[in-house]
Symmetry: C2
Subunit: 291 residues, 2 copies
């Protein structure tokens, strides 16, 4: 029963039968019975009950992951049907990285909300890899990513290239070539982010080995520090355009690295698994973000 699965997931999230019952607008014994019925059906114990709530058993953890998937598929099914009945209403869940969410998505969202006001738009942040996984698991309907890996079930729609630029405090000296960045203080993303990997790789291939003075997770932090003259930063143009216009930062592009940039791409499932609102979102994205 799918209902069991839903209840089970709610219990795991809540950490107690009582709390889950409240969230589900059910009584506590109802939840208790459902969980026991599910355990009986599967023949394994899913939760260890204690006086301070419940905890997952190892099997329970496995089942929980599967259960979440099943629920995601079911929710995706509802969204698809809703969107088919009327593409101009329903829900649409968009996945995107933090940078794209902050600097690329807003105009798209605005245009979408103007043109399709009855579609509830939801956002889920996560890097490219996570977004792809969510797309395949029906947790999101469409994803905006950079550096996408092709996947047979996913269709890629290239939107535009967001060039990487070097920014610093107003009046500071900016490099004219990649080589000149050697030894300069760099304010970078924390190791592991997609953008950081890309930057590292390109700098290395040009022999430049700048000193990474600071690492942050947040673009805002990087921009603030760069604006204070504490170092240079390599950021997507979209993230610094306003600051440069307002003279809070200066920027330059590196002529010997002309193709520096993030290929912003929209991902959606292949036709048979796509909901109607996705087409609208795709069209509006292409329109707003140019080609």
């Amino acid at each position: 029963m799918l209902q069991y699965v839903e209840t089970f997931c709610a219990v795991v999230r809540a950490g107690s039968l009582n709390l889950a019952a409240e969230h589900l607008h059910l009584s506590q014994p109802a939840v208790s019975k459902q969980i026991r019925a599910m355990e009986a059906e599967l023949g394994v114990q899913l939760l260890v009950r204690s006086t301070r709530g419940v905890e997952l058993t190892p099997v329970g953890r496995q089942v929980y992951r599967l259960a979440r998937r099943a629920l995601a598929v079911e929710a995706g099914c509802h969204r698809a049907a809703e969107s088919w009945r009327d593409p101009w209403s329903g829900r649409l869940i968009v996945g995107a990285g933090l940078t794209l969410t902050l600097f690329t998505l807003p105009p798209v969202i605005q245009a979408f909300r103007n043109r399709v006001p009855d579609v509830r738009l939801e956002l889920v942040t996560g890097d490219s890899r996570e977004s792809l996984a969510r797309l395949l698991a029906f947790e999101v309907d469409v994803a905006l990513v950079t550096s996408p890996e092709p996947h047979p079930e996913v269709q890629m729609v290239p939107l535009f290239i967001d060039p990487l630029v070097v920014v610093g405090a107003p009046g500071s000296v900016l490099p004219r070539r990649i080589g000149e960045m050697g030894g300069m203080a760099l304010i970078a993303f924390r190791h592991g982010s997609g953008l950081r990997q890309y930057v590292d790789q390109v700098l290395e291939s040009h022999g430049a080995r700048p000193h990474v003075a600071m690492e942050f997770d947040s673009i805002e932090a990087i921009k603030t520090m760069a604006g204070l003259g504490l170092g240079l930063a390599l950021l997507p143009l979209s993230a610094v355009r306003e600051d440069v216009a307002a003279a809070r930062l200066t920027m330059t592009r590196l002529p010997d690295w002309p193709d520096a940039g993030r290929h912003v791409t929209l991902l959606r499932r292949r036709a048979g698994l796509r909901s109607g609102a996705v087409s609208l979102f795709t069209a509006i994205s292409r329109e707003v973000l140019g080609q």
Copy 2:
């Protein structure tokens, strides 16, 4: 309701409510009511009824794909629980290509059935790409593939390298280098198969452009034709070992192409989504197929 989903899938497969009801051991009105309830819940028409059964509407087709996924996840959940309760019983579904199924899997299956006789083993054939998709969709628990693409949710276990050899009829002249194959008649797989792509690519990179005299889908057909002297064939060693030993074919390996071979790899989901019997199967595979 998950039950609706199951009924719906049965109806789609059967093509009629009556037949589906029979398969499900239900009465026809029960099935009818469930479908109508499902349509009401989703707010869309899933099937067009006619006097000769039912057909999917376009939305229905979408929902059907999603429904199949949900069912696969649910079945995977049952298998996982079954296997956890006792890894030495339950079900295990293996995906593999046709060639691997015929020439590599049999000893593994035999060993597995000897050592773990209470686990019901099921096979699903399909190429590497399909097997990977099935693994992720919980339609299979473990897959044997060649030329795997890495995927974050999948763990790869390399098993062995199945070398590619050139075979011909007994007594026929075999090439000693790749270059010598130019102009020779080749009996190959039909265009599109993974092995054919690999062979084409390597031959091309060596400038050899053999004449593809015949194309088949079946290894048996290729071997038969090669045994009749109608041309040479590039096949995995495992597929021709017995025929060479029985002198139905002769073979040679090409010294200027020493790494020719298919990297046979076992794929399984990451730990959290893996069932217990998979570990047993992995261990036995490594043992039987060597390292």
